[in-house]
């Protein structure tokens, strides 16, 4: 029996009415904030070579893309990620431009394989910005300040948590233990899921190494500033210590800006894309069990495209934001309903549209009444 034409493929959906208006309004609000910080909009190809994403996101994440062959047999993918594409443009199209580059985008990404059971969407829109060619805590703080402004303007700053970590805290320990890639991935998964008991078993083979203890502590270390002292007691290698110092410096600025209520430090938060190299953060707000965005530093990514330079960026899930704001009621949402339209009616077809064009020339909202027209 043929599939009915009414069926929608898994993970796809329509938006219309209040939902579509709200979605557009959120997009406009966030993009105008990006513009306020002098980020320039960039649109990227929807389809590109799979190898680009494989380099950019790492093979595990890139595998989730919709893939197909080009006429010449090369493998293509429908964009599963925007950052890889922006990084390539920065290294090529914008190679000669003055640094830092500030770029932003809103674009759908497509993923054939969901990341988790709650991740049902296979098409989801991302709003993000990238700050390329600036290697300093100044750039990190700029991005975090933009995130805070976005949450505040969307009315999501109460009951939100932006969790900070530096992936080098984990990397330093993994290096100390001399782990091969597979063990490193397995350990990252155990730390990320806070699976202390399995992690202890896994680390038994590395017993005697001082930092194996530090690693199992990582899973439990989250909170505010005080946890950095806690971490310093169990973590001794130089690379991790430098990362802890970076977080401490970042935190003192966050505190001086009186934003520390919105932030937490979570050293066990080591998941996400392979391209992150330093600071990473995730954004959670009340009203959904999933994170609504995240970002971090990806200093090694543009090197894949021939121009190594530091970069930092973040992305917000537009669909998740829409769901949350819709759930909270439209009264405090950024979507303003439009004025009631004027009904344009006439028995004469030309007269009808003359009247319509006149009103439109004044910028008024109209709706054509076709019932009275004598044809």
């Amino acid at each position: 029996m043929p599939e009915p034409l009414s069926k929608i493929p898994a993970g796809m959906r329509y938006y219309c009415g209040p939902e579509a208006r709200l979605r557009r309004a959120i997009e406009a609000t966030v993009m105008s904030i990006f513009d306020g910080w002098s980020y320039e909009e960039i649109t990227t190809p929807t389809i590109d070579y799979y190898s680009l994403f494989e380099h950019g996101m790492g093979p595990t994440q890139a595998h989730r893309a919709f893939r197909f062959s080009d006429g010449d047999g090369r493998l293509l993918a429908v964009r599963p990620d925007v950052t890889s594409l922006v990084a390539r443009a920065a290294a090529t199209l914008f190679a000669q431009r003055e640094r830092p580059l500030r770029l932003c985008y809103v674009a759908p990404v497509f993923r054939q394989q969901p990341e988790s059971h709650t991740d049902w969407r296979r098409e989801s829109s991302q709003i993000g910005c990238e700050l390329i060619g600036a290697n300093s805590s100044v750039a990190d703080i700029e991005l975090l300040a933009i995130v805070c402004e976005v949450l505040q303007q969307l009315g999501l700053d109460r009951g939100c948590s932006i969790t900070l970590t530096d992936i080098d805290v984990f990397n330093g320990i993994a290096e100390e233990l001399k782990l091969d890639q597979d063990s490193r991935d397995e350990m990252r998964r155990l730390v990320d899921t806070r699976n202390t008991s399995d992690l202890k078993q896994f680390l038994a083979q590395y017993s005697g190494t001082k930092d194996s203890h530090a690693l199992s502590r990582l899973t439990q270390i989250s909170g505010k500033l005080e946890i950095l002292n806690d971490a310093r007691q169990s973590i001794t290698n130089a690379r991790s210590r430098a990362a802890l110092d970076r977080i401490a410096r970042l935190w003192s600025v966050i505190e001086s800006l009186q934003l520390s209520d919105h932030f937490a430090i979570d050293l066990g938060d080591v998941s996400r894309l392979d391209y992150y190299t330093g600071l990473t953060f995730k954004i959670y707000v009340d009203g959904t069990g999933r994170r609504i965005g995240g970002g971090g530093r990806y200093d090694a990514l543009t090197a894949s495209f021939g121009k190594p330079e530091p970069a930092v960026g973040f992305v917000l899930e537009l669909d998740a934001l829409t769901d949350i704001l819709l759930g909270r009621g439209e009264s405090n949402s950024p979507a303003k309903s439009s004025a009631e339209p004027a009904l344009i009616t006439d028995t004469d077809l030309s007269g009808l549209f003359r009247a319509a064009l006149d009103k439109r020339a004044l910028g008024e909202r109209i709706v054509i009444d076709s019932n009275e027209v004598a044809l």
């Binding site: 988790s116 709650t118 202390t196 989250s222 009340d286 069990g289 999933r290």
Partner: protein, 214 residues
């Protein structure tokens, strides 16, 4: 006051999980424990407990409808939900095994017929050995399959092994150990950090006390 919702596996784990939570300081009246209601509150009003099928616990927690849950490791291995699992508990201790009428299953090259409620765990296990598998998914009474010739072996959860023995099966291989886990939703872990940290600490203490036989 932050209120936490806990999803508890109905059935095999339920009584032990409730006992553990009581030792961890949740005040559950006998009325609450004997009721057939699927959602109840503890006396402090800080905790709401919901009772769902074991395989549904990760579903509720992953969506954030429940903040935490108590569920067997077998369910987590099979469904691979995206959850935090900060505590291994000392309840619901059992093994996931390959069982058959005899060891002779290993003499067969080509194809092994496996009956199970855990197709993903089984596929991963035999996949790592390079064994081709005809996976026969059943939802209960798995032990019957080798007896009636539906399958060469089963992959199942075993507590004492008496059901296996009574059906003429024996353990060929232990795939992994399983016990209950405390699982936590990723967003709740951040947004309700204090309440969840408190719960993890008190359940951990209660769990270690009983492990020491106190």
């Amino acid at each position: 006051m932050t209120k936490l919702t806990l999803a508890i596996s109905k059935g095999r784990l339920q009584a032990d999980a409730l006992g553990l939570l009581q030792r961890a300081g949740l005040r559950l009246s006998s009325d609450v424990l004997s009721t057939r209601r699927l959602a109840v509150e503890d006396e402090s009003g800080c905790y709401r407990l919901i009772f769902v099928k074991p395989t549904d616990v990760p579903v509720y927690v992953e969506h954030g409808v429940a903040d935490c849950g108590i569920v067997g490791r077998d369910v987590l291995l099979e469904w691979e939900p995206d959850l935090l699992q900060p505590l291994a508990l000392d309840i619901g201790v059992c093994r996931i095994v390959v069982a058959a009428k005899s060891e002779a299953i290993w003499n067969q090259f080509g194809m092994l017929r496996v009956a199970t409620k855990y197709p993903r765990i089984a596929a991963k296990h035999f996949g790592a050995r390079g064994v081709a598998v005809d996976m026969i998914e059943l939802s209960g009474s798995v032990e019957l399959a080798p007896v009636l010739g539906l399958a060469d072996c089963i992959v199942d959860l075993v507590e004492t092994g008496s059901t296996l023995r009574e059906n003429g099966l024996s353990i060929v291989e232990v795939i992994t150990e399983s016990s209950a886990r405390l699982v936590v939703n990723r967003a709740s872990y951040q947004l309700k950090a204090d309440a969840i940290g408190q719960l993890i600490r008190s359940v951990d203490k209660a769990s270690q006390r009983s492990a020491n036989g106190d």
